[in-house]
Subunit: 426 residues, 2 copies
């Protein structure tokens, strides 16, 4: 499909945060033109659709840089419990019931929600990775799947197989080496993962320093923080991306800087699970690349980049005791290009000629976006899902004006999710 | 208009947080029936409209219990600045330019946003109260206006006049005695306000203990915290409602309990301005009535009860270091019936026969509301403006499926707001 968006405001994220007026062309799955109004040239093209943007904003799709999509089945299933009760008495026993056939429908439910929030790609980490890939391919969503192995060293072989099987699975699917977390992996597994990273010359993705107790236990066991311990094993010799990072020492942050590790912050989940507030201010000062993730829908409970963006800046201001901390423009970068970089997606991070057409149209003709004093700050501070007019992934419109174009009826996906949780709780 | 909602889920908030199935009738501006499906009786009535709720939720409208609506003109005008620079260099000089004719259009812009968030009434505090009333009456929105005087004792006479003029202005408008804050009022004014409270036997509304410095300065000047100082002057002899209350001592909370004072929490604003996290847990323990407010759009920057609800529970969990703190069901009460009580609105707080028809329909057929493990918790933890299908105030539908029915075109209201800020900045 060749699609022309005209009469739009452009927030390309290619050269800082700047809003211009113009048009954008999509040919196939790529951006063919982005710039000033160009009526003459446009008239020479043949268009499947010409969309009058009515002055609304086109910007790169948000990147949800850490999530567990299929956990939709546990949304609002057991909230307001102490963390360990929630995890051990509610989440783990339910997850034990999951079979491969449950994953694609539950992931599709999450994908629908990503689309309503202008999210065009995620970094997904959950059981049955092939089924995550299936959900993305069938709906047309872009996903980066990462390994989530734990336990003894045998996990490394499963990780290698998954990597080989999925890394070139489809144009919408990529795969990254990874493991669940330091506290669920044996030293032997971690050494084997480091060897895989060395063999493939690839970065490694993992949960890191989410809770205080996790850090304390690692220090007690290994004499080092999780970040230092993993680094000492060579895990990050080719970089990596680490999630949560709520409880980081200066030395931990220095390691991230030195190794080129990206940090993905998950403020909604860290808030709801009372994990704490990440040191975003200190990460920015070190120029560490930062992405934003929703975490899974059992711990958040929603998949909404607008909520996350507000929390990144708001919690950062609270933490620093300074209303000027964590500028909204920095947050907008994290939610788009920063996240893309953290996920290893360097071809759909900004709106530029030749890049993949992963973009979103933000509806400014809503009361929460008016007046137009500062459009970028409106998006970060007052934006909401109601402002997502259109979400395009890989050149295809998957969501527009409240309707989904994902090859399946929403009601069928809702019904399946409700059936699964009913079956698990009967 | 007589309107029948059938095939709905009912979250009446009348007896705890409980979802049932049934129908609800509106006759004129009141709820005429709420309960089980009743086809026979419904057939005997004549309806202007019968709305198939398709299983969606009807609940009481949210109450925004502290805001400054007309500050819409400063939304995203000057963010990410240190608090005092923002206030003294940006906000105050711009507010000096406001004239009465600016207030109604700027307030209407806020009212539109309230409607998109399912808010059916607000407690508004700003300059030119008669123009706030006008905006509410012209759009059909319910507003409680409060006095916001400051300075010397002469303010008390203005307050009395405003009270006399506006307290019976219209069925949609009520008025409460109030002043801006302890730190902007002379002792003489506070004594005169206390005398008015005594004369009318009425509660008093004010900002209270929002920032640490405000509390410290009061202690230095008066040897007491703001709450204790105001109480010592007799301000709360007939109760009252106090906003923010971020920095409260145990004694302050005990005074609120003893005097029957409601506290309105403003977590979005307190976060963005780095003011701190209120002691909601300790307020709940004392059974102090709590409402939720967005504060004005210059400090938040949006008017969204879903964001505020998540923040009340999330920040409370962070503050207590406990994922089980501040149950979502308590938050839903604060956002509806608790807020209504704080605002002196006892006739539109729950869905019951005879109550005013101020209600909202929540769209469950959206991915963020699925599966239906716990509908009330879905609303608090994953709800967003996208889920507001219909907002009714005083028996009239003012917002439905993204369209406004407020006697004026949205584009005209946006244009006026943009003109005003343009005029002020040229």
């Amino acid at each position: 499909m060749n699609i022309r968006f005209y009469n739009v405001r452009l927030l390309t994220m290619a050269n800082g945060v700047k809003v211009t007026e113009g048009e954008l062309w999509v040919k196939g799955n790529r951006i063919a033109y982005v710039g000033d109004k160009n009526l003459e040239a446009a008239a020479r093209e043949s268009w499947d659709r010409e969309i009058d943007g009515q002055g609304n904003v086109l910007m790169p799709g948000f990147k949800d840089a850490h999530t567990h999509s299929a956990m939709t089945f546990l949304r609002s299933y057991a909230d307001d419990l102490p963390l360990l009760d929630w995890l051990h008495k509610q989440v783990f026993p339910m997850e034990d019931k999951l079979r491969p056939e449950h994953i694609a429908p539950l992931t599709k439910l999450a994908i629908m929600e990503y689309l309503t929030s202008g999210i065009t790609a995620n970094l997904d980490m959950y059981y049955f990775a092939d089924e995550i890939a299936r959900a993305a391919i069938e709906t047309g969503f872009r996903t980066v799947i990462q390994g989530s192995v734990g336990g003894d060293a045998s996990g490394a072989e499963r990780l290698r197989q998954e990597y080989e099987r999925l890394r070139n699975r489809h144009e919408l699917v990529t795969y990254q080496l990874g493991f669940h977390a330091e506290y669920t992996a044996s030293r032997e597994l971690l050494e084997a993962v480091a060897a895989l990273a060395e063999e493939y010359k690839k970065p490694v993705f993992t949960h890191n320093s989410e809770s205080r107790s996790e850090v304390e236990q690692c220090v007690e066991k290994n004499g080092m923080t999780p970040t230092a311990y993993l680094d000492s094993l060579g895990i990050f010799n080719y970089g990596g991306t680490v999630f949560h990072c709520v409880h980081m020492t200066d030395e931990d942050l220095d390691i991230c800087k030195k190794r080129g590790i990206s940090i993905v912050t998950n403020p909604g989940s860290n808030t709801k699970l009372a994990s704490g507030i990440a040191r975003i201010h200190d990460m920015l000062k070190r120029e560490i690349n930062i992405g934003i993730g929703t975490d899974g829908p059992a711990s958040n409970n929603c998949l909404d980049m607008f909520r996350e963006m507000f929390l990144v800046t708001g919690l950062g201001k609270l933490r620093q005791d300074d209303a000027s901390a964590i500028d909204a423009n920095d947050v907008l970068y994290m939610a788009t290009a920063g996240g893309a970089r953290a996920m290893g997606l360097n071809d759909c991070d900004t709106l530029e000629e030749g890049k993949l057409a992963d973009l979103v149209m933000i509806d400014l003709r809503q009361p929460n976006m008016q007046p137009l004093n500062n459009i970028a700050k409106n998006i970060v501070y007052s934006g909401s899902k109601q402002n997502v007019k259109l979400t395009m992934v890989n050149g295809k419109i998957l969501y527009e004006d409240g309707r989904f174009y994902i090859g399946e009826e929403p009601e069928d996906i809702y019904a399946k999710a409700n059936e699964i949780i009913k079956e698990f709780t009967k």
